[in-house]
């Protein structure tokens, strides 16, 4: 009986280890590679032989890479702030204000998120050159916001619909305007949803490649994914694996930190207690 139990828990943890290894290994290998230089790059090492920071120095000491990181931070942050602001106000209307064509509008928003990026690339490019945004971070902010909003609006609309109507009505009786209801009453209750959608929007904007490649042309306006892809070695034939891996690690770490920080902030059941439950 106990032997059977032991076997089960061993099998369970073995499975856990396999899953963790499977998902972590590529990133782990990137870290290992980022510390290797010269011919060590082309040996299959599963453990770092030496900690050589040369690749990191090369990347961060490069002419434009630090600037690229700043670009990415700026673009992703602005996208998140803009998208959340628009989505919160839009979802309040979509969830709480009765008007004609609300269902149709929601479906249209959903439909927008189904377009593949490549399908709208040409049109978006026209729009961006027309607006004079080409080769500026605002071209990316605009296009990322377009692609993030449908998802954000949908998630927040669902969340907002689930908030008790009575709380809103109590606020109306207390003299709150829609703006105050959104900012003082709903936002605090929506924190978990905001953190989750905001984080996803941030990751999406941070990792996006196609638009970033298309809408920027100079080295100083590029974001990190494009910069990494365009890292060039000493010669045409050399692919600089070491610096590429070092750069990849550098841009992944902030995401991991963000997720770890906000994971704690995702407090479930914040609405508990306001209404009977």
């Amino acid at each position: 009986m106990t032997g059977n139990k032991l076997l089960k828990s061993v099998a369970f943890y073995a499975l856990v280890v396999v899953i963790v290894l499977f998902s972590i290994f590529p990133f782990y290998y990137a870290i290992v590679t980022s510390f290797a230089t010269g011919t060590a790059l082309f040996e299959a090492n599963y453990f770092p032989k030496a900690f050589d920071w040369a690749n990191y120095k090369a990347v961060l000491g490069g002419a434009t890479f630090p600037r690229n990181i700043l670009n990415s931070v700026f673009v992703a942050t602005t996208t998140v702030v803009l998208a959340l602001f628009l989505a919160v106000t839009a979802s309040y209307a979509l969830a709480r204000v009765r008007f004609r064509g609300r269902g149709l509008l929601l479906m249209t928003i959903l439909a927008v998120s189904m377009f593949p990026q490549i399908a709208v690339l040409a049109g978006l490019f026209e729009l961006i050159t027309y607006l004079g945004l080409f080769n500026s971070p605002f071209a990316l902010i605009l296009s990322y916001t377009i692609f993030t909003l449908p998802f954000t609006v949908w998630v927040l609309t669902t969340f907002m619909r689930d908030l008790p109507v009575e709380i809103e009505e109590a606020a109306i009786v207390d003299g709150a305007t829609p703006w105050i209801i959104i900012t003082k009453v709903f936002l605090p209750l929506l924190w978990p949803a905001l953190v989750t959608t905001g984080l996803l929007a941030f990751i999406g904007a941070w990792n996006e490649f196609l638009f970033a490649l298309t809408f920027t042309s100079s080295e100083v306006t590029r974001t990190v994914p494009v910069a990494i892809a365009l890292l060039s070695g000493a010669s045409q034939q050399e692919i600089p694996w070491g610096p590429i891996m070092a750069a990849s690690v550098i841009v992944t770490v902030p995401l991991i930190i963000l997720v770890l920080i906000f994971q704690r902030k995702i407090v479930a059941g914040l609405t508990a207690g306001g209404v009977k439950g």
Partner: protein
């Protein structure tokens, strides 16, 4: 503080008429209870008075001022919801002060009013807590406190006791009654489907049915002189006994009503039947007697149960306590 007049007030959602023309005057300082079965429009009527819903036609006057298009916050009302509707992320103090904060009141005035209300409801030791740390009864007291802090002309209660258990319900009911006595100039309107709450709290009761007023009057009036079979059946527990067919035609009416406590067990009474069920509540007991009408007749007697199921008893109504109704359900007097 406010006299409320409704003049031919109607409300419809698209093609569905929910309130079908209501004329009603609620005097200032009065405790008015709207009562009726679910779907009769009593909550909608309360929401029309609060301003959370707009009336479709008719007029609504507060102290002779037309308030049809006045915002809820400008009407001088405060509302207590069935589900408490406290702001979950705010402390009890902030919940109660929220309205004054929005009205840009001074912090001192705010503190004073909140403390007064909290003392009145004995929740002053809970001010720092969050709603989720309170029990159901405490939450509803906070919701009532939040309403008091608004210093309203009209207090609106939307089934405030429905989420509480039986013991708390009685206790909170008592507190609402006390509140009414201590705030004599504040008009209170209370919605419930529980006729016991209606009878115990109200100065006047308005019975609603299907979007119309069925009868308005004091609890005693509704109990003793119901205006229709519907009111007679709705007010009072256990329900009034109704007899039709020969039982009624013997007394020259279509339906004969008699309350359970107005029936005596006698020798050679008017009706005879077998006891099919009996309930002993200690202080009272109920006999369910099959006298040959549609439903067993319920007889309420004081004291302990002395008869048993299967016994045959003879019953007679107390003099002058019969309610006679015609074919349309209207009383014959």
């Amino acid at each position: 503080m406010a006299k409320i007049e409704l003049k031919n007030v109607k409300k419809s959602y698209g093609a569905v008429d929910v309130i079908k023309g209501i004329d009603l005057t609620i005097e200032k300082g009065e405790f008015m209870v709207f009562v009726g079965p679910s779907g009769c429009g009593k909550s909608t009527l309360l929401r029309l008075i609060s301003g959370l819903e707009e009336i479709s036609s008719g007029d609504m006057l507060f102290d002779n001022d037309r308030v049809n298009n006045v915002l809820p916050s400008q009407r001088g009302i405060a509302m207590v919801f069935q589900s408490y509707a406290l702001y979950p992320h705010m402390s009890v103090y902030d919940n109660m002060a929220f309205g004054m904060k929005l009205a840009k009141a001074s912090p001192e005035a705010m503190k004073k009013r909140v403390m007064e209300a909290a003392k009145l409801l004995q929740i002053d030791h809970l001010l720092d807590r969050l709603p989720k740390q309170l029990s159901g009864g405490q939450r509803q007291r906070v919701a009532i406190g939040r309403a008091i802090v608004r210093d309203p002309r009209v207090f609106l209660f939307d089934e405030p006791l429905s989420n509480l258990d039986a013991a708390l319900r009685v206790q909170t009911r008592l507190e609402i009654a006390k509140l009414h006595h201590s705030m004599t100039d504040v008009t209170m309107i209370y919605v419930t489907h529980d006729q016991v709450e209606a009878m115990t709290l109200a100065d006047r009761i308005a019975v609603l049915r299907d979007g119309r007023l069925e009868q308005v009057g004091s609890p005693a009036e509704l109990y003793e002189r119901p205006n229709s079979i519907f009111v007679a059946g709705f007010i009072g527990s256990p329900k009034m006994n109704f007899l039709t067919g020969k039982f009624a035609s013997d007394h020259g009416c279509a339906t004969l009503g008699i309350r359970s406590e107005h029936i005596d067990v006698v020798e050679g009474g008017l009706w005879t039947g077998e006891i099919v069920h009996a309930e002993d509540l200690g202080s009272d007991n109920y006999l369910f007697v099959e006298v040959g009408s549609d439903e067993p007749m319920i007889v309420r007697r004081e004291g302990k149960l002395t008869m048993k199921v299967g016994d045959t008893v003879s019953l007679s109504p107390k003099a002058g306590q019969l309610h006679k109704f015609d074919q349309n359900g209207k009383p014959i007097r």
